[in-house]
């Protein structure tokens, strides 16, 4: 009975907060609603005796990934809010039809299956040891592929986000970047300055073979 109540509450919370994510106009509120969704899903994972995944969900998803989202939303500030331009009504209708079609189709597929009570599992099901034995044993290739994927994503993220900004228009002011010549440019300027001071080379002058300018 308690199981049923927890299921109903957690799944209702998950669905309501998911609706909050897609219907909220403010991206900050959307991100906070997604955190609620993730925590409710972690409760569902606990009902399914997947303790380790519930913990990973809260720590990795609700913790790390969502913090990243909130940082980017804070960085964008007011620009993160959606431009107000209404979509044509048939696009919204088509999106609704596609979403409902997926749900109805999966619902029929579930109905067809006539699931039983499910396997009885021991206490160790879903424990870190059991998952580690699976992940590092039978699925070790998947594990390696995942690590390569994460490395590629990290390098890609750095490459994308650390790109030099496009040259901006005259007079534009940015709070983040102060105009400053690159180190090699200022070094070059100093060298040229030193050379001209001692009258060795002047700009635009070419020496001939006799060393005369």
């Amino acid at each position: 009975m308690t199981y049923d109540i927890v299921f109903v509450v957690a799944s209702a919370l998950a669905i309501i907060s998911a609706l909050g994510v897609i219907l909220s106009g403010n991206p900050f509120h959307s991100a906070l609603a997604l955190i609620g969704n993730l925590v409710a899903l972690a409760a569902l994972y606990l009902l399914l005796q997947s303790d380790f995944l519930a913990a990973a969900q809260v720590i990795v998803y609700a913790g790390a990934v969502m913090i990243m989202f909130l940082f980017v939303i804070a960085y964008l500030g007011g620009r993160a809010t959606e431009p107000v331009r209404a979509r044509p009504w048939w696009q919204t209708l088509a999106a609704l039809a596609a979403a409902v079609a997926v749900v109805v189709e999966v619902g029929f597929a579930i109905e067809e299956q006539a699931f039983g009570d499910g396997a009885s599992v021991s206490e160790a099901f879903g424990a870190p040891q059991a998952i580690a034995a699976s992940f590092l044993g039978r699925y070790v290739l998947t594990f390696e592929a995942t690590s390569v994927l994460l490395l590629i994503a990290a390098v890609g993220g750095v490459t994308l986000a650390a790109h030099r900004p496009a040259p901006r228009e005259e007079g534009a002011v940015s709070a983040f970047e102060i105009e400053r010549p690159a180190p090699e440019v200022s070094l070059q300027a100093e060298v040229v300055d030193a050379l001209t001071r001692f009258d060795v080379v002047r700009a635009g002058q070419v020496r001939d073979e006799d060393g005369e300018t």
């Binding site: 897609i22 997604l34 979403a99």
Partner: protein, 101 residues
């Protein structure tokens, strides 16, 4: 009422549908990424509930892999959003038509 695996699968299908609707209707890239997160979490719930139903670890392992994929997707997606913001582009996925022709 007996809450079996079918109920969990139903919730996962509803979450997937909500995420799909969000991806189709919203135009801010950040909300799009959040909607994709909802879809991935719906599929994760399906994986985990079926893993519990069969008493098998494999579904849980692949749910972990899906989490890693989602994290990678967020890193690259948010990198793109920041790059768009740096280039003073409109944060609107409908205006990104540079590769159309």
């Amino acid at each position: 009422m007996h809450v079996g695996v079918a109920w969990f699968l139903g919730v996962s299908a509803v979450l997937f549908g909500i995420g799909l609707y969000g991806v189709f209707t919203r135009r801010s890239p950040i909300i799009l990424l959040l909607s994709v997160e909802i879809m991935l979490n719906g599929s994760n719930l399906a994986l985990i509930s079926v893993a519990r139903y069969w008493g098998e670890q494999s579904g849980q392992v692949f749910a972990l892999v899906v989490m890693a994929v989602a994290a990678s997707e967020v890193v690259v997606g948010l990198g793109l959003v920041v790059a768009m913001a740096r280039r003073r582009a409109d944060l609107d996925v409908d205006s990104l038509t540079g590769l159309r022709n």
